[in-house]
């Protein structure tokens, strides 16, 4: 999860520490990423560089890495993304065939040096010249305030040698990876470089001048279910948040709409079915008028007749519920088989996206029973009120 500063507070070291101390937060690391030039064997390559916290080592994203992870969090070392490694070696990908084995890339590159050129952002003590000039006629307090708000830092061009320690086949576009960066540096090391980032130019918060602020901070939480609460807590601190959970929001919306539609169809089906039950039973009463007359003649009470039709309605409900559940289960099976065939083609592990829990089976049947019993109320009492003499005359 990443949080970008909103209008009010500064997303600086103290804010980061506060976030770290939130419940269920495992780690909050500043997200450092910048585009710069890297020289390898005197050839310049422009690329996006990102910092990795040492905890990234444990992530399965770096499972298939060639070489090693950073020796320390502040070592001048780099891990390359596979495609960047290919670029350095001058390999060109043919379209269609995109799988070079990472192992091939290791030997020629591991242990080699890269030279990184970057712009260091340096805080300048005291008011900036431009600021005091424009506001010079005003009083000191406002002078100072404006000074701080101004660009009170300078930019120095620097060079840094990096040792290639690893090559990762991490998909640069994958959501799990650090978004599209192709070269990774250890976090502490990257932080100490004070690389000027794109967002720095827009930075006009008061803290900007003295303490560095982060454009974004990545927060790792204990488990997926904590994401929402942690997000809320961070939002309360005044920062914007974004998470994978947000990314799935549109999917969840889709399912919500789907649920709504199914709900509407379900209610309609329910209404139609209830009317169907009422109709069937009323018809049954008409057809079996004579039977009802006979039963009354041989001693059936109103309640006996009512019970009979109620039992019939209930049987209809249970049967309907059972058939419905069986049908739903079958449809679910078909969908599962279909998706698993698809997943298999995509070489993904099978998933059971559709399943019918036992409580739903039970619930559906009980619900169907209830609905049919309620629908049976009117027909049953109508049957019970039938005049036996009339009913017996009916042929």
């Amino acid at each position: 999860m990443i949080c970008a500063p909103a209008d009010s507070p500064a997303l600086d070291e103290s804010a980061r520490e506060k976030i770290t101390q939130l419940r269920d937060v495992l780690e909050a690391s500043p997200d450092i990423r910048f585009i710069t030039e890297l020289r390898y064997q005197d050839k310049p390559h422009l690329t996006l560089i990102a910092a990795l916290p040492s905890s990234a080592k444990e992530r399965d994203a770096f499972e298939n890495m060639q070489g090693q992870f950073f020796s320390s969090d502040s070592a001048p070392e780099a891990i390359l993304q596979k495609s960047f490694a290919e670029e350095l070696l001058g390999k060109r990908r043919k379209p269609g065939e995109d799988d070079t084995n990472v192992a091939e890339l290791g030997p020629p590159l591991l242990g080699k040096d890269l030279v990184m050129r970057y712009a260091e952002r340096m805080a300048t003590p005291g008011p900036a010249i431009t600021a005091s000039e424009t506001n010079g006629t005003q009083n000191a307090v406002s002078d100072h305030a404006d000074d701080v708000a101004g660009a009170a830092y300078s930019v120095i061009s620097r060079e840094q040698t990096l040792k290639i320690v690893g090559i990762s086949d991490l998909d640069p576009d994958s959501l799990r990876g650090p978004g599209r960066a192709r070269v990774f540096l250890p976090l502490k090391f990257a932080e100490n470089l004070h690389v000027m980032q794109a967002t720095s130019l827009r930075d006009n918060s008061s803290a900007a001048a003295n303490t560095p602020t982060y454009a974004t901070v990545s927060v790792r939480v204990r488990s997926a279910k904590n994401v929402a609460t942690v997000e809320n807590a961070i939002r309360k601190m005044g920062f914007n948040t974004f998470s994978i959970v947000d990314a799935t929001r549109s999917m969840r919306q889709f399912f919500a709409v789907l649920d709504l539609f199914l709900g509407i169809f379900g209610s309609l089906a329910l209404a139609v079915a209830s009317i169907g039950i009422v109709n069937t039973l009323v018809m049954a009463i008409l057809e079996r008028r004579r039977e009802i007359g006979i039963m009354k003649a041989i001693g059936a009470s109103d309640v006996d007749v009512k019970k009979l039709f109620f039992a019939e309605a209930g049987a209809m409900g249970v049967l309907g519920g059972a058939v419905g559940v069986a049908l739903g289960w079958t449809i679910g099976r078909v969908i599962n088989i279909g998706t698993n065939i698809y997943l298999k083609r995509q070489e993904l592990p099978p998933e059971q996206i559709w399943f019918v829990p036992w409580w739903l089976v039970l619930g559906a049947i009980v619900f169907a029973l209830l609905v049919s019993l309620i629908s049976g109320l009117y027909p049953a009492s109508r049957a019970a009120r039938l005049d036996p003499v009339q009913a017996l005359r009916y042929e």
């Binding site: 006979i294 041989i298 001693g299």
Partner: protein, 254 residues
């Protein structure tokens, strides 16, 4: 009224007692007097035939006594219960326990086999499930249908169906059997077989029988008392003189 009914009133042993019983139907402007002021006493153990032309109100009177219908005016008292005062539930219990009914068209339930048909009144009487089967079996055995327990009514002859419906009528041991033309759909031989059974129950169980028929010969052969209806009115009530076994108390004719 007749001297017979006067006498039975004095005895106070009436099973059924109607007083000025009326059942009128209003059809638009016209008023149909299906039962029109019938006063009748039936004594315990009697076998009565109710005779009359079609539309004379025989079935209507029987339905009133059976508690299937309520009188427009007058009263029906059966075993001391004024049916007009009973609630719907009490009436159904009365039909269940006190009377047994047999119809011209048998009125068995076609979707049930004979056992189930005969068990039905036991179910309404909430008799134990395991007791029901043996009771129904005994009843069907008594009417000679032991071999047809699992048959549907449609698989049986008319006579067999009427036997089954007799078994059903008797399963709760009623004290009063009401039969509405029980032989109407049967040939004379089969009809007599059925009435032999009815007479047997009348004589051995002391069950009072009130039977509607329009066959005078059958009525004279089985009934001990003949009651004639015309236009809803009781027009004649006589001892059956041909019935030698019953001692004639009085002349019978009014």
């Amino acid at each position: 009224m007749t001297s017979v009914s006067d006498k039975s009133k004095q005895n106070g042993s009436s099973v059924v007692s109607t007083a000025d019983l009326c059942r009128h139907y209003r059809m638009g402007e016209t008023l149909i007097r299906a039962v029109d002021g019938v006063s009748l006493q039936v004594q315990s153990g009697e076998f009565i035939a109710l005779l009359g032309a079609s539309g004379s109100g025989k079935s209507s009177l029987l339905n009133l006594i059976a508690g299937l219908d309520r009188p427009t005016s007058g009263s029906v008292v059966v075993y001391g219960n004024n049916l007009a005062e009973l609630s719907r539930l009490e009436l159904s219990k009365y039909r269940l326990r006190t009377v047994g009914m047999v119809f011209q068209s048998f009125n068995l339930i076609p979707s049930m086999n004979l056992m189930e048909n005969v068990e039905l009144p036991l179910r309404f009487a909430e008799v134990d499930r395991n007791k029901r089967a043996s009771l129904a079996q005994t009843a069907l055995h008594r009417v000679g249908l032991s071999a047809r327990l699992r048959h549907r009514p449609s698989e049986l002859s008319g006579g067999e169906q009427q036997r089954a419906s007799l078994a059903r009528a008797l399963i709760n041991q009623p004290r009063l059997l009401l039969a509405d033309e029980p032989t109407g759909n049967l040939d004379s031989h089969t009809g007599m077989e059925i009435l032999d059974l009815v007479r047997e129950f009348n004589e051995t169980l002391g069950m009072t029988v009130l039977m509607v028929t329009h066959e005078r010969t059958l009525a004279e052969r089985y009934a001990k008392r003949l009651i004639f209806l015309a236009d809803g009115k009781l027009v004649d009530d006589q001892r059956n003189h041909e019935h030698e076994t019953v001692p004639t108390l009085q002349g019978g004719r009014p």
